[in-house]
Symmetry: C2
């Protein structure tokens, strides 16, 4: 039995915070201030405190490192990473959370001290500290599948959005283009996915688009499937 020194073992939470920004899928990354991996980009996260619930720890770390309020966004546990040597400091088992939010200005903008910033997922792939590249890849794959079966896409949108906004979420996250007519029909025919607000948004040029808010449904039935489901 080697069940001694548990003292070395710690639990961490890591967050893959995703948004659609400037036409690309972006993730929130911080720049590490300390070794190991000082100066390298990493996902926000940190150690769970004694007597602290995992979800609470995730919200707290997010607020501490990025000033974002976790209550406002979709937060979902999606995997655990427990390989013994994944952290050079010792045994750290990390619970990974997927967070989805609309393209809001970061509350931290200006106070660059913390180094929290958006980065296009495609650009930072391969450069993150620890095993965070893998965690981010898993998070993106999870988000892609979530769009097929759930109403998660509305979490990428502001409180009021157009069908076109919603479609561009699908297009950016999936990396493929969708037929606007068919997409519109699917969305509006799915009970509880979106509800019209009655308001309209006037674009710089072109016909005003009707605004919607997220409906009560969480699951999509029937699902909206990708053409090439991996």
């Amino acid at each position: 039995m080697t069940t001694r020194d548990h003292a070395q073992l710690r639990i961490a939470v890591d967050l893959a915070v995703l948004t659609v920004r400037e036409g690309a899928l972006q993730a929130l990354v911080i720049t590490r201030g300390n070794d190991p991996f000082a100066g390298r980009p990493a996902l926000p996260g940190g150690f769970v405190r004694t007597d602290e619930d995992l979800g609470v720890a995730a919200v707290r770390e997010l607020r501490e490192e990025t000033r974002l309020d976790g209550d406002d966004l979709h937060l979902e546990q999606f995997a655990v990473y427990g390989e013994p040597r994944r952290d050079p400091r010792g045994r750290v088992v990390s619970v990974a959370y997927l967070a989805i939010m609309p393209d809001l200005p970061l509350p931290v903008a200006g106070s660059d001290a913390s180094g929290a910033a958006w980065a296009a997922v495609d650009k930072i792939r391969g450069s993150l500290a620890f095993d965070h590249d893998r965690i981010l890849d898993d998070a993106v794959e999870r988000a892609r599948r979530r769009l097929e079966l759930t109403t998660l896409a509305t979490a990428f949108c502001p409180p009021e959005f157009t069908i076109g906004d919603l479609r561009s979420v699908y297009e950016v996250v999936w990396g493929e283009s969708l037929d606007p007519r068919n997409f519109s029909r699917k969305v509006t025919n799915t009970e509880g996915f979106v509800e019209p607000t009655g308001a309209k948004r006037v674009p710089p040029t072109g016909r005003p688009a009707a605004l919607y808010r997220a409906g009560p449904a969480t699951m999509l039935n029937p699902p909206i499937l990708r053409t090439a489901a991996a």
Copy 2:
């Protein structure tokens, strides 16, 4: 900061081992020998050792408590339970694994000392130790969804099985009956789901059924969806 005494924190793995047996979805439960919850049924599991990978710990615990060889069965991490007071002994964060296996005689049968036994999921709901009722519920829900999108159903079957065997897996796990004709077509038309062995099995009475083995595919495209997707 309350990041002191990590010594109290431990990582555990818990296993929801499912099979289809006697026409019902059954789970492997052990009878706890020690407090807390002595004498109560619980899911197999235990503490992860220092420097032991989570998956390795799951396989080891399964072997220790049930004599089953984890290499033979589908094993998949599906959730983490970290609520601070879920274990009266202290802070225990538990990584839950879903395991699927065919209806084999338990190697432990006879040596009832260990107390590992199959129990119908519907019968034991509400009686398990710790938060294992919730873990089991989550595991069953995960398995149900897995049947829709992956070839997991073959993991419930012995190496050679008939289309009827496979269909009864779906029927028992989903708790609904399926049209044999349509089911057969879907399965045989899905590339890589099952492969004919050429052999046949003769039932006590009736026409012999062709035998199949699991094919190379892991994802079902298109999926086989439940009628009432919760």
